[in-house]
Symmetry: C2
Subunit: 382 residues, 2 copies
């Protein structure tokens, strides 16, 4: 299949590009290095400096991997994106091309505006490039479990049937996100659903939980193929942050009471989920929503798991609650359904002690690169 | 009260600016003439050429009205909008500053993109100008009943309590709009709700149905104070289109079966609703949603009413269904609640035979100006 990976330089984008190429697809990876630029501007660079996307593709080839084509450009630029769709004629577009950080989107006007414009305009352009240049191209869009927030009812997979005053209808499950970034994903979903209804697009919207890990079979071929591993408070997700804190021997920063519960998944499961979505596509006129995570944990449970494994490795890990910089419920009901991807064939990699130990071991190789100044929260929601 | 009217040159914006000034408020009207520009570009100018906003304010003053301050500029320009909020310190912002046409937003990529960018960026900037420069300013936002679409259950006023698997929570009523324009209003609502939760803004989101009419007490002071009266298929709403078609002796263009039902209201009731919302404001941290219409009608019912009154006036009105250029249900359930504004004190002006006759009489004065080439639908959804 011809697969275009938009945001192909990202934490998930680059491993996805390699994974899809390894599965025999013809892959075109596209990026404008926005995340790298923003990480640089906020002193939040990844633990290891990654080669640029062109070099990554070359190194992957030299390490025995298949070819990954690369185009550097901005999905907000419709002329650029339309040309790629016209020339490459993708059968699937995997759309990661968004500003991916909640905290970044909460820094102030400029960062919020960039997030709003970038994310909405990219999604809008992907829809139009498909309609106008490759109408049979399915779209696999990365959303977030954060779109749903933490409602007091069970979270279904994207849709809910409502029985109201004796009449029934089916609707998008209600969404109410906790940052402007997550809110742009809500707007993306609304917009995609409109264009699916109108033009019969085939769209899979993956409501993904926080991802952790830095190893995939392809990334492990050469150290320089490693995903961008952010461990700071802005671009790093909580599990990855805790792994680095454990190795750096600074206390794990639990925000507030630590009862915040989310559904997590291993980077390798993201790759499985995305390839399953592409290879078992949604139907034309369908907005298929899948809740993409394998296990729910509270922040306290994750901290405890990293602490226990870390201590066994002699790391002397402590946990230290810090005032919560976010506006979120610290204790809440959380029961999201996640059946769809299992039914498609997902084989989960759970967060076992072995997995945590392996990740800590890998992070330990880069201990000297850790900058502990990036660990305490620098962005407050208020 | 100091009231800033954003989009103060519009079909509703200018009558609102005059009305609020007449009610004793200090009014600043802001516009960038976007709608005029787009109407010109699509050969959809209003029936009567309206003076510019600066001249309108002068003419209103000369006709005995109070002062209306005017600023010409673009709400997408944050430096401009922030300066107005800093200098004027509004206590209420009435936000009409959006590309207002569904058909325009469906013409193609450029028009859809302009609608998305303009509407989202304007709303985003209004929120931030308030937060940063006038934090106690309430926002009265014009949404549309079209946000809800035509669900198979009763439409509540913005919110719905969902009882699901034995647990309950309250959510925004599901939204699914029929054009990209209406979808931008859905996105506005999602974004406003996020910022209300986060910063405790006081917001009233008015879900307005199609408005009709060209007369208000203030507009009637001088012919040059008339609202922009569009009668074409792009900027004209259905009742106004039918009035002009009746006067021009061309058949009333019912799209498809004509069973499409919406809630309508008289322009004078829009003025009442908006002033009620401002003078009886939402509380800080509240997103108050009010369904703003007075009577539901199907398109066939409106056509029949205009036909009956027109024929009595000797106009020889015929009704002629045309193929529906839109993608919408032509027969559907429709039962929206609309209690909130009545409870606030709204005194409805219904679409009586006298009202229709008066409107036809007023349109008849401008019969020579009608361009019948603008009557058949020029934009198709597909």
């Amino acid at each position: 299949m011809r697969v275009i990976v938009l945001g192909g330089d990202g934490y998930l984008g680059w491993p996805t590009a390699m994974h899809m190429a390894r599965r025999g697809h013809e892959v075109l990876a596209v990026d404008n290095y926005l995340r790298r630029t923003l990480a640089l501007q906020t002193s939040s660079e990844a633990l290891v400096a990654n080669p640029n996307l062109v070099d990554r593709a070359r190194i992957f080839r030299e390490a025995g991997g298949p070819a990954v084509r690369v185009e550097i450009g901005d999905c907000r630029d419709f002329a650029f994106l339309e040309r790629l769709f016209r020339e490459f004629q993708p059968e699937a577009a995997i759309h990661y091309a968004e500003q991916p950080s909640g905290p970044y989107s909460m820094m102030g006007y400029d960062q919020a505006r960039l997030t709003l414009d970038n994310n909405l305009q990219s999604t809008f352009n992907v829809v139009w490039a498909a309609i106008q240049q490759a109408p049979r191209c399915q779209i696999v869009k990365l959303g977030t479990m954060g779109e749903y927030g933490t409602p007091n009812i069970d979270i279904e997979e994207g849709w809910i049937e409502i029985d109201h005053k004796g009449r029934k209808d089916k609707f998008l499950f209600p969404r109410q996100a906790g940052t402007l970034y997550h809110t742009t994903k809500v707007l993306d979903t609304d917009m995609l659903w409109f264009y699916v209804r109108l033009y019969g697009l085939a769209v899979t919207d993956l409501m993904q939980g926080p991802v952790y890990g830095l190893s995939t079979p392809e990334a492990d071929l050469d150290e320089r193929l490693m995903p961008n591993f952010h461990y700071d408070d802005i671009f790093g997700t909580v599990v990855n942050r805790f792994l680095v804190q454990a190795v750096a021997r600074v206390p794990l920063t639990v925000y507030g009471k630590g009862g915040q519960t989310r559904g997590y998944l291993n980077l390798n499961d993201t790759l499985q989920c995305v390839s399953l979505a592409v290879e078992k596509p949604a139907s034309p006129g369908e907005l298929r929503v899948l809740n993409q995570f394998t296990e729910p944990f509270s922040v306290n449970e994750i901290a405890e798991r990293v602490r226990a494994v870390g201590n066994r490795m002699g790391l002397d890990v402590r946990v230290e609650p810090v005032p919560n910089p976010r506006k979120e419920k610290e204790e809440h009901y959380y029961n999201p359904v996640h059946r769809g991807l299992l039914e498609l064939g997902l084989q989960p990699h759970y967060m076992t002690e072995e997995v945590v130990a392996d990740l800590l071991e890998r992070v330990r190789r880069y201990r000297d690169r850790i900058d502990t100044a990036r660990i305490m929260p620098r962005v407050r929601w208020s």
